[in-house]
């Protein structure tokens, strides 16, 4: 949480929001169970439905409970999350790749689109890691230069206090 949002009114607003999100999460769980009990679905459909609801619930947890909504201008957290997401997507992509089984390219059961998408993800993964790392490194260096004089000044004042 950034410092500008520490006022008592804002905390009160947050508490209301927390209760609301708790309600949303419980409702999401109930909906998942009800759908599972009421409808007979194929594996693909139930996976899409179940995981979509889980994704909505997860977004609420990250955005509100973990204060990401107010923290996203903090560039380090965002980069951490983006990198993690790319890692995760890449991992799932590799799994699809394994399932698609490149050597048996032409076999009927696997639509060609899956291995193609998977190999793209597999290429994007290392490439984006490299690109983003370079970007982060250059950015933090620039900020550090600006901030450098300030930190020095602080250190000086601290020393004075101790003396």
């Amino acid at each position: 949480m950034s410092d500008s949002h520490d006022s008592p009114n804002f905390i009160q607003y947050l508490i209301k929001l927390f209760y609301l999100v708790g309600g949303v999460l419980v409702a999401g769980t109930l909906i998942t169970v009800i759908i599972d009990v009421a409808f007979k679905m194929s594996l693909a459909v139930s996976a899409i439905v179940g995981l979509s609801i889980a994704l909505v619930k997860a977004s609420f947890v990250v955005a509100i409970f973990m204060h990401y909504k107010w923290d996203k201008k903090l560039i380090m957290i965002t980069w951490t999350m983006i990198l993690t997401f790319i890692f995760f997507a890449g991992m799932m992509g590799l799994i699809m790749w394994a399932e698609g089984d490149i050597p048996r390219w032409g076999r009927e059961e696997v639509p060609v689109v899956w291995p193609v998408l998977a190999s793209l993800l597999g290429l994007i993964l290392p490439a984006s890691f490299a690109a983003l790392t370079i970007k982060i490194l250059s950015q933090s260096a620039a900020v550090a230069k600006e901030a450098a004089p300030k930190t020095k000044a602080k250190r000086v004042t601290r020393k004075k206090k101790k003396d």
Binding site: D3, L25, S42, F65, M66
Partner: protein
């Protein structure tokens, strides 16, 4: 030494150090759980029909546990909000509520969900005729009760009611989740399994007849390298009473050493005696009924050969989804172990699903357990020292813990549909 940037944000990152640290930690956790989730996907996609989730996951219990964890996630963030307002008592209240929820979550896992799979068994028969007979015996009552309902959509009136009940209530929806393009894929899979006898009956073992074993000594090899005196000592240790004459007689002429003893005792005696140069025969003298719910039994346990007879003669099997005429309990049938091709409980060794299930939920439970320890530390006087020294630092520490706890909740939010619904 003062730790830098516990309260004020570090200028170049814009965050206090703890928060950046916990986010990086969570990123590595995503990778850890991501690896397990992707393993799950690979195993799930490759699983044969009827081998996934085994119809043993209780969605209602799972949903209840999910809500307990959601509540704890909400309590932990409310605790932080109280702390931000400087209300320590309110913080403690919410934090203890979080601990209570976490303990409840673990207790449901530990005392109910996990162990219940180990006393649950599947039985396959050698012969399809035996399977059909046992189904008639176990499910006829339930079939008769639901006769009109079962026969409503059924064209083939030749099918027995018991079979229809088994098919509708247990198998076609729970096990054979085949959704092939042609109509009735699940039904086809069921029919094939029924005809070949490769259909398992599942339930609990309520009792069994276990062998009572005689241990007989048939002779002693004097050239075995064991001294006579030492061989006698072994006999005395195994409970032979009397003077030297008795042991000498046993050594020279043989004879029955123990009568009607349990498996463990007989096997221990056999081991000790063989080591001391005796030749030993084990034979089954009779069977004793035991009322117990065994854990971790496998095929090898029931049909282990003891002098030509099986170690367990028959099991009393309480069938899933069947009801007794008198008291509404599960219907018990007696199964001879001679007829059994395979028996197993749902330990990871026997099931890919439970292998990955225990791995993921176990790792998740370890996170919950670790979280409880951290919360208790923060609630005890030793942890509260920080609050009395620097309130902002303590609030930040609790915020960091909250981030971890929300992540644990997040993992479960995805685990719930993946394990219980798919």
């Amino acid at each position: 030494m003062e730790i830098p940037f516990t309260v004020k944000p570090r200028p170049d990152t814009g965050l206090y150090n703890g928060k950046l640290g916990i986010w990086l930690f969570l990123a590595s956790e995503v990778m850890l759980f991501g690896a397990l989730f992707s393993s799950y996907v690979l195993l799930r996609v490759g699983a044969a029909d009827g081998t996934w989730s085994m119809g043993l996951m209780d969605v209602v219990v799972g949903a209840g546990n999910t809500m307990v964890l959601i509540a704890s996630s909400m309590f932990v963030v409310l605790a932080w909000a109280e702390l931000k307002q400087g209300n320590l008592a309110g913080y403690k209240k919410w934090k203890w509520a979080t601990v209570a929820c976490a303990v409840l979550f673990l207790m449901v896992k530990w005392a109910y969900e996990w162990p219940s799979k180990f006393v649950h068994y599947d039985v396959w028969f050698k012969n399809s005729a035996v399977l059909h007979q046992k189904v008639e015996e176990g499910y006829l009552y339930d079939g008769k009760k639901l006769e009109t309902e079962l026969l409503e959509e059924e064209d083939d009136a030749k099918l027995s009611l018991a079979r229809l009940y088994l098919e509708k209530e247990i198998y076609v929806e729970r096990f054979f989740k085949t959704f092939s393009k042609e109509d009735g894929g699940s039904r086809k899979a069921f029919n094939q399994a029924w005809d070949t006898g490769s259909l398992a009956l599942s339930g609990h073992i309520n009792g069994y007849d276990e062998a009572q074993i005689n241990v007989e000594i048939s002779g002693w090899k004097s050239d075995s390298g064991v001294l006579e005196a030492n061989a006698d000592k072994v006999l005395l240790k195994l409970g032979v009473s009397g003077d030297q004459g008795v042991t000498k007689k046993l050594r020279n002429q043989g004879g029955i050493l123990k009568e009607m003893v349990g498996y463990d005792e007989a096997k221990r005696a056999e081991y000790e005696l063989t080591k001391a140069g005796f030749s030993v025969n084990l034979s089954v003298a009779g069977y004793e009924s035991v009322k117990a719910h065994p854990w971790f039994w496998r095929t090898g346990r029931i049909n282990e050969d003891i002098g030509g007879k099986p170690r367990v003669k028959s099991i009393l099997f309480a069938l899933d989804e069947s009801h007794n005429e008198e008291n509404g309990d599960h219907k018990e049938i007696s199964i001879n172990t001679d007829d059994v091709k395979r028996l197993n409980s749902y330990e990871p060794k026997h099931s890919t699903f439970f292998g990955i299930y225990y791995t993921i939920t176990g790792l998740h439970a370890a996170h919950v357990f670790g979280g409880i320890i951290v919360m208790l530390y923060n609630l005890l006087p030793i942890g509260l020292k920080t609050w009395h020294r620097d309130r902002e630092q303590y609030a930040n520490r609790i915020e960091c813990f909250g981030l971890f706890w929300h992540f644990v909740d997040l993992v479960w939010i995805f685990l719930f549909p993946v394990l219980y619904i798919l």
